[in-house]
Symmetry: C2
Subunit: 127 residues, 2 copies
Amino acid sequence: MDLDFAKLNGLLPAVIQDHATGRVLMVGFMNDEAFRKTVETGFATFYSRSRNKLWLKGESSGHRLVVKEISTDCDTDCVLVKVDAQGPGVCHEGYQSCFFRTLQGDGQWVVTEERTYAPNAVYGGSK
Amino acid sequence: MDLDFAKLNGLLPAVIQDHATGRVLMVGFMNDEAFRKTVETGFATFYSRSRNKLWLKGESSGHRLVVKEISTDCDTDCVLVKVDAQGPGVCHEGYQSCFFRTLQGDGQWVVTEERTYAPNAVYGGSK
């Protein structure tokens, strides 16, 4: 599984796509260990750049990403992971997808969909 | 259009998705200038990390990516660009998508689709 982690200092982008609907749900980063964990466990696991550690998606929320298929690109410096997303949403802000803001003609980013769950009820705190 | 380019030294990943089919076609990187060019021209433009310069996708092949919609994620450190892909394929290796290799149960990456065009005829040379 010789992916090219060198271009981004040991990381590569991982695009998470809903296996059933084709919607892009999030983009995270994986290091070699996170990628191996993802393959071995069948649950998408990332490397958190802010916390500098492995991050099993759903470890707090229960909203895990069950891996259905993994592909890589021509340069083997990116992976596309098709998943079955458990729970009402992938985004910690309460949306189905992290890509809930769309660029408008006037250059503004506008939230273009409704929340699918209340993030406070899942993650607690004031976030 | 205040995206967060700081996390990757001035770059952010741009996921290119076919507007009609939902297929993820490629992932490139954009700096602020590439993003602005993409918005202004309506053609996906990247920053080439290997050539250290802006790169209008399709400048050699003619296979341009016509922007249909742009969204960003909760952290504004990634963009998702839905496109109408001109030409038979996005990948310089001759495939519709750069993600033409899929991970098998034995840990091997296997090409799981046919080429849609002959790259030599488009790009020339031996590549």
